[in-house]
Symmetry: C2
Subunit: 432 residues, 2 copies
Amino acid sequence: MTSAGKTLRLGVAGLGTVGGGLLKLIERQAELRLPGKLEVVAVSARNKTRNRGVDISKFKWFDDPVELALSPDIDVVVELVGGSDGPAKRTVEAALRSGKAVVSANKALIAEHGMEIAALAEKHEAHLLFEAAVAGAIPIVRAVKNSLSGVIVSRVSGILNGTCNYILSEMLRTGAAYETVLAEAQRLGYAESDPFLDVSGGDAAHKVLILAAIAFGAQPDFAQVQVEGIDRIEAIDIALANKFDYRIKLVAEAFRANGSVRCRVAPVLVKSDHPLASVNGALNAVMVEGEPVGRLTFTGPGAGAGPTAAAVMGDLARLFEGPATPPLGKPSRNLAPLITAADGTTDQGSFFIGARLADKPGTFAALTEQLGDAGVSIDKLIQESAGDSGAAPIAILTHPCPRSAVETALARVAELKLTADTPRLLRIETRA
Amino acid sequence: MTSAGKTLRLGVAGLGTVGGGLLKLIERQAELRLPGKLEVVAVSARNKTRNRGVDISKFKWFDDPVELALSPDIDVVVELVGGSDGPAKRTVEAALRSGKAVVSANKALIAEHGMEIAALAEKHEAHLLFEAAVAGAIPIVRAVKNSLSGVIVSRVSGILNGTCNYILSEMLRTGAAYETVLAEAQRLGYAESDPFLDVSGGDAAHKVLILAAIAFGAQPDFAQVQVEGIDRIEAIDIALANKFDYRIKLVAEAFRANGSVRCRVAPVLVKSDHPLASVNGALNAVMVEGEPVGRLTFTGPGAGAGPTAAAVMGDLARLFEGPATPPLGKPSRNLAPLITAADGTTDQGSFFIGARLADKPGTFAALTEQLGDAGVSIDKLIQESAGDSGAAPIAILTHPCPRSAVETALARVAELKLTADTPRLLRIETRA
């Protein structure tokens, strides 16, 4: 039996941008194609009086979201509190323990406590859905979990953080410095007042780990994800990469490698005709590759009140369709500890080195000599005019070589103080 | 209750390319992430002895797929027979009447008899799933039906026929004539030996109608879809459009217009930076637009044994999840007769005219005079050298005007025999 035509009674915990967007969308439910009715019964947030553009006086108010989760007149808890621990986790656990369905947008919670929370949902045969946790309005969680369960996935990759993508796109477009563009992004609402989780790559890492768990039947293990952010990228790196016809994108990816699954987030150079190169601004894109389909690409808005609320709504619609299934696809007891951080020293590839040369004679020759000594062969290079600073920006693209060789060379370059700043070492994506 | 862990017994009707691909994928099910087991019990096809690269001797054989559908030792009928009527329809009906689940790749059947078949499935509370009917491996049917049921869709559009897209891409790439490229596509297996359904736009029309029905809660009504194919497009049209930085793509679209839904398929000029412009070869792409998400784009292989088999597999996985839901999203009795062919004479837009001028003096001036007299103002034009034929190719882009005005002018042009061939009149997509 489905519960089509029935009414689901919701408690919404967290009334930030997404919570407000959700309440507004629920008010328009007659225009949607839901299989039943949604009735908001109760809400909870830190601030009762903040103006959210929606009248919340008609809902029961809870100061404590855990109290809301335990309320007997609620069928579903929508968790929009956020954060991997604290009230969000307690709220979700309380709801699942009382057999309530949970719809959550909380990537940190699923990425860091996925095994524990999934097992709890399974034990209580409760729905735990989190489409809104990954790639905003793009319905990628359900696609990978259900529609593509007939695909032997080899790789999931993409641009999963709109803030970073906006910043990198704007640094290319305007030539402005990272700090300037970040400040502008904050002013426009594309970046949080504390941007650390976004710009460090942590948020993208949470998301790709969730996709990896589902796509590969792997236990989410956040400690195994290799994460590098965008906060050290300079505008000159982006400009020089562009001269070689590359874009710098924060790419999150999970792929099969030697019987395990590797999960990593890093700024990467992609050729201008690569599918991710044209994904600009706050958009997200996810590519799923595997047999027997080749590659599927999903693109759309990855954040914001409307897109995230729509993703939550898609999960709410799912609740009418039938009973709960395991949150991560396979039952959590059948997930394998596949995700393992590779020993980076064995990585092979072509690399980009961006730096500013120290303002003294012969540095460029000395730097290339160090690369040669370490066995790193140069494919292309640019040196720009030093200008007033005296520190000439350079960009080097290497031929394929071990990453460790480049790192050895750069360690010597640092010892010899050949650069005026700390060089940026980025991988070049050679897959089309 | 879900039927996770259970075994579903399948009867596969139709063992062409897709059927063979499905049997191979089922043999690899241990590598997939299905919630239960699939066991092929019986098969049916026109030719028992054809080599399909799979041993079918272990399956029960039926000459008549309807007999297979009625077999009591089968839970699910996979209908890969094809065709809107005849054995495919009888097989699906027999299966649904006996309460069996049906998974079908048959776009013609759903587009032309969707209301009737959906009502039958609902009456017998039987699953009727058809992810493989639209856009191959792209899981767009379920996305629109379920995940995006919280989106107020305003438009669904895209490239839904890989054969046409391959032909148009190759005509641009090689400059070869339509007939040459079609023959090559047939040789490579990208086009059927009878290509009519593809090149006429009929196949894309079937697919967009299915998406429209689900996205808008509309009764599928194939007679209301306006369809134009690619078989009159000349290589010179594509080359000249390209000089203006446009690509010619067969675009299928359904959108809200004046309280109804308009559904149409036609070759259209899209700017080179339009999301559909870079979708080349046999790829498909679907864009879903609506509140509060903006635009989502899904890209991937739209046909072929592997991709289509994977889509069928996604539907088979769904069968384990729970009871049947209405095949078209809303119960068929709640679907409204929204899809209506607009009176084309009221269409406004900018247009492309491609033709070859008659080999006599003053034709170009006479032609532009006819356009002017009809109120059609020219934005850009090219005339190429006539070469040996004496008939100089031209391309004209108009400023926005009523389509009827261009048609009036072209009728006069035909009366006056100003062109050596029948001009091609194509719409220019002005939405980014």
